[in-house]
Symmetry: C2
Subunit: 307 residues, 2 copies
């Protein structure tokens, strides 16, 4: 089963998998092996030419190394499966969400700036994460990983997903997005970890942010366009904000969000940690062995047209 990996490094990390023949391809242009490649693993966090997929007659599966699949799902040829790296980024992204929440509540950015001035601040009473009412917007595998880390901090946790459903071992109930207008005014912290889709694009707009109480914290570890950047700029200061993803991304040097009061920007580092490679390799080895044996791949993304 001919399988393209994005670099020699990934080929080395993967090692030998029964029934899998590896070719290295960064998908920047046509290659002879496109004739018979069966599985394609595109580059991670680098541009690649999705249009090349149409020139791969034997292609069965596009296996992403990212959790997100916006901009790709629509362009994968009919009959070809698309799978994301579900689970691979859970630990790394969930801990960045906690890092951003704790940094903003406990005043770390102010302390960094005070340290550069050699100044021992007297910040007074800051909010703890303990006792905070936290709303988690999105409850896929990363959302679940965030919830598991939040609960030992003694928060009151509310979870919202696209549709209301029963809870699990962590939360009694999962609310639907239609409950947001009622829920937002009652929460101190909102963490967005929804996939970017037609229904989540621009979800965090002026109305959403206006419904959050003064001094509340909004954190985006989803995708930049889930929030309306101009609205973040307008509400920064009244709200505290931390974003690992922006729209546009990267954020240009002259963008007002850099200097909006109460805002912390991290440069899309949710996934790029030492946790990534070992988890990605384990996922790839399992997935490729599975497909080489003729079994169904895991983590397949269903297109709206599949329904």
């Amino acid at each position: 089963m001919k399988t393209s990996l994005p670099s020699d490094e990934w080929a080395d990390l993967l090692g030998a998998v029964d029934g899998v023949e590896v070719v290295v391809d960064d998908l920047s242009g046509p290659q002879d092996h496109h004739r018979d490649v069966v599985v394609v693993v595109p580059p991670y966090l680098r541009p690649w030419d999705v249009g090349l997929l149409a020139g791969m007659p034997r292609l069965r599966l596009v296996q992403l190394l990212s959790a997100g699949y916006d901009g790709i799902l629509e362009r994968v040829p009919h009959g070809v499966l698309l799978a994301n790296a579900a689970g691979v980024h859970d630990d790394s992204t969930a801990e960045l969400a906690l890092a951003l929440v704790l940094a903003q509540l406990r005043g770390i950015p102010d302390f960094v700036r005070a340290q550069d001035r050699a100044e021992w601040m007297r910040p007074g009473i800051l909010p703890s994460l303990a006792d905070r009412r936290v709303l988690l917007l999105g409850y896929g595998s990363i959302g679940h990983a965030i919830a598991r880390r939040l609960l030992p901090f003694g928060v009151e946790l509310t979870v919202v997903a696209s549709r209301a459903r029963e809870g699990d071992e962590l939360v009694a109930v999962v609310h639907g997005v239609d409950a947001l207008p009622t829920l937002l005014p009652r929460h101190d912290v909102v963490i967005a970890i929804v996939p970017l889709t037609d229904s989540t694009r621009g979800l965090v707009d002026d109305g959403f942010l206006a419904a959050m109480p003064d001094g509340a914290l909004f954190v985006n570890v989803a995708r930049g366009p889930v929030a309306v950047t101009d609205a973040l700029v307008r509400h920064g200061g009244r709200l505290r904000i931390a974003v690992d993803v922006t729209d546009p991304e990267p954020l240009p040097a002259d963008h007002p969000l850099w200097h909006t009061p109460g805002v912390l920007v991290s440069p899309h580092v949710g996934g790029a940690t030492t946790a990534f490679a070992p988890r990605a390799v384990a996922m790839l080895r399992d997935q490729l062995a599975r497909v080489a044996r003729g079994e169904e791949p895991r983590h397949v993304i269903h297109r709206p047209s599949d329904h």
Copy 2:
């Protein structure tokens, strides 16, 4: 039972407790009511005159609002009990420990500085907390609270206390301090949360830090003098360091630690959050009611001479 509280605000927060008569006293000088005060609650994080205790003939209990009791235990008159605010600071201090660990591993101080330059950094692969080998030095109630928050991050946790003992629901075993030379080289993160005593003063010295591997992170949320500040300055850069407490404290403007590479300083904010007042009030109400009923107080600190 005449009980002194450090301010009108504390008296208001406490409210009425059966059998307790409150007087307000910041313990800055002699007062008539010192003749018959039975319980004294000294000010929190402000200087007060420990010598005044000797002029309180009916004094039975000094109830601190802090977890630490260094510099006080030795000066409490014979026959008077000293209790710390065990449990009150657990949530707040444990979450600051996590905030400092996550901030340093995930690069938050660099992002804050890059943000001030309006620069989208490309930091490459940073360490995750997931998969890290973490050594918790000190396993009282705050240490336990740190452990409960660390474990869902997928760390490998080792716990060290003054003496080796059996583990609990979180760890299989508690190591004694004598195991440190063997343990330190095998850990990526060390978090100090020991009380300051004769045996922990200067415990984190050149030898301790030299035993930690390159790139490892040392975090102090205990007391400043637990670490030798000059040694922190010497090892900063090779190690990453985050300290909420320093020696001297506050750190003077001309101190080299401010600008030592790889160091993050927060200005002793472990306890000063919204979590403090409600937990302190609940503890005080329980403790004062208990003593007023003639029962033994909780959280009494035993002096070495008691043994």
